[in-house]
Symmetry: C2
Subunit: 407 residues, 2 copies
């Protein structure tokens, strides 16, 4: 079994890195806080005696090779250490640090792998500062040219490639240099299912599709006091209609579709000026590709009608689009089997969040292990998983990896 | 008649001061741009041979006293030179520069006033950076203690008093030192009425009530992908409901009530995080105090129901509240009479915008003159009034002032 104290100690230590003036955890991709987190993780990887490799998009790999491995293609573990704004400490970091923990445990145990084992910390999984999300793993699998990814402009006007240079994580390795034999990612569920059902282990068999759009509404600034309601071209009002449309539609349906408007800004953003422009994001998800496409079509139709009715112009920019993914059933079975052997119940489930596993699945058999999230809360400082569940998940990862790397 | 070239030249010159990097006119109260505008106006006032006085809230007065005036209490003209974000060049500046123009014209003509005549540029009429609006004139009439006004914190976290010190316009005079005999403010209409009806002069007989509130909705941040629609406490969605409620209500009614949400911000404002907080402003106006109060009550009731239904908490801060004002009928009649003598049609009307006249009316007989606004557009760079209308308005002001100052 893994060293619980070491894993939990590192998790809490990393969770203190990147706190802002208000004590909020904000470790956005490419930021100074990201650098500080990377530095600590790289130091731990080196201390464990692994080879460190960093690629051009800043993905960090810690690779364990032994003298007598039969096959270089590694069993890859990992996740990410970048965070959202005002994040919890588990999302992503748990998977990276458990991957490292599993390798250290296997090394110390005298285990002789038949193939390399590696842990990855992928760049910009959250997609908060730079879209799309899962960017590092997407580049790794060739889904996005690295040159294009590096020129991405962030919400704060920065350019990812320049930021990576600045923080010293624009590596030399060609993205995708490491072709995994298999990929397995341990993560907190971030949703309410496991906790509600009292099940400690999720064997994640698929992951829903993700559609991200940025929508800009242009109306006309005018005086809040003198402009009759009937003469307004109010961009802010049109944006509000989109939010209520999405909510009403999702709630009226029996489908598991979720729709979120997370970012919003008005221009000129003055109390007595009718907004001339509203810019906002729409995050649509559904496990079924056909239904996700239908939701996108319904939104587009609504925007067209809204533009006509409100005499505003509406433009749409696609920020991310990923189809649902089905994971490798034999790895999912290994997860179930490992749970059974440790006397833990498990449940096959869908991931509501996007994960690096979703990208790596394009090039290698992949799956995920989930552990319960307190109250289903994530992307929130109250994100929490009990130590017992964290340790149990890492031990399942250990069992699955030792099995996969043995052949 | 006034010197049209001088007035229009100054109006255009002042309109070039305070352009930002994108060429937008942004001369917010207390800013460097405001200082630059003030410096130019003060220089013109001095060049006209008037006494300059600046009070503690930064109101600027240019006073024409002659050796043989019978009464020190001046006929006061004026308006403001602060602007909204991305403003037009007429709002406020037209009134200040016309006031100066009228005094210069009277001085040059050999006119011997029976009382002083003064022009005022009041601080922070727009209320965009610091609420409430009409702050300088409100302080002048004793409606807000100057100490309280000076400690107002702006949308950018600055403090008005510190900004006024910084730009050199924290004057020594006690606010209200100048008690006017009468006040008359010339302004662009900022609404569509005069242009639509082809009438060059508005004789403004009243001004609608204004209610400004800042509303904060607190929900719960959570993951956009994993949180079922039914389990969300989405502050952004609740804010959107308020916007659609206000629009639907105003549009369903026959009353002239206007309702505007001009400012909006989400926290943490991340694409895949359900907003934990939404902060926005509500600007409600109605010429009838009872109806305005009823709208405020309806909004409060809606917020209460919404908070319960969406499981969010909602707090409300009052930023400004001014009752409707009726102007002095004898001055309104003087405006109509002056128009008639110059062969211009005029119309009695209500002001949809707030104005300094609304405050000064508390301590002196007051009224306003409006000129047409192209397309009813204001608080917008496309704000426009023809030169002919601008000059006609200034001549009406001249006639009314020469009448009022003669006795
Ligand atoms: N796991 C996780 O929160 N990923 C971020 C990408 C997303 O699902 O929005
Ligand atoms: N005249 C004018 O635009 N005043 C600003 C205050 C307001 O009416 O919002």
């Amino acid at each position: 079994s893994i060293n619980a104290e070491r894993l939990l100690g590192r998790l809490h230590a990393l969770g203190q890195i990147g706190r802002d003036g208000d004590g909020r955890l904000v470790r956005l991709a490419g930021s100074d806080a990201d650098k500080a987190g990377r530095d600590v993780v790289v130091a731990w990887i080196r201390a464990a005696g692994l080879d460190v490799a960093i690629d051009r998009i800043g993905n960090i790999f810690g690779i364990w090779r032994t003298a007598d491995i039969a096959d270089e293609a590694p069993v890859l573990l990992g996740s990410h250490i970048d965070t959202v704004i005002n994040a919890g400490i588990y999302d992503g970091c748990y998977g990276v640090l458990s991957g490292l923990e599993v390798i250290e445990t296997l090394k110390a145990s005298g285990y002789a792998p038949a193939r390399a084992i590696a842990v990855a910390a992928f760049t910009n999984e959250e997609g908060v500062r730079y879209a799309p999300d899962m960017m590092g793993s997407l580049v790794h699998v060739g889904g996005l040219p690295v040159e294009e990814a590096l020129t991405t402009v962030g919400t704060d006007g920065t350019v990812l490639g320049i930021e990576l240079e600045r923080i010293g994580y624009a590596g030399a390795k060609k993205p995708g240099f490491l072709k995994p034999h298999a990929y397995i990612e341990l993560h907190i569920e971030q949703g309410p299912v496991l906790e509600r059902e009292g099940i400690p282990i999720g064997a994640v068999e698929n992951l829903q599709g993700i559609s991200w759009q940025r929508i800009t509404v242009d109306g006309d600034a005018n005086h809040a006091g003198t402009t009759p309601m009937s003469m307004r071209r109010d961009a802010g009002h049109a944006a509000a209609r989109v939010i209520t449309f999405l909510r009403d539609r999702a709630q009226a349906s029996n489908a598991p579709t979720v729709a979120t408007v997370g970012c919003m800004s008005f221009e000129p953003n003055a109390i007595n000026v009718i907004p001339s422009r509203a810019t906002f994001t729409v995050d649509l998800r559904d496990p079924d590709e056909g239904r996700l496409r239908a939701e996108e079509v319904a939104l587009a139709a609504y925007l067209k009608d809204l533009a006509a009715a409100e005499e505003v112009t509406i433009s749409v920019e696609r920020l991310a689009r990923f189809e649902p993914v089905t994971f490798d059933s034999s790895i999912v079975e290994l997860v179930e089997e490992a749970a059974r052997r440790r006397g833990l119940t498990s449940k096959r489930m869908t991931s509501g969040a996007g994960h690096d596993a979703q990208m790596i699945a394009r090039i290698a058999p992949s799956a995920m292990i989930f552990v319960p999230s307190f109250g289903g809360i994530s992307h929130n400082p109250r994100e929490h998983t009990t130590d017992i569940d964290l340790v149990a998940g890492a031990n399942i990862l250990l069992d699955v990896v030792s099995h996969l790397a043995a052949q």
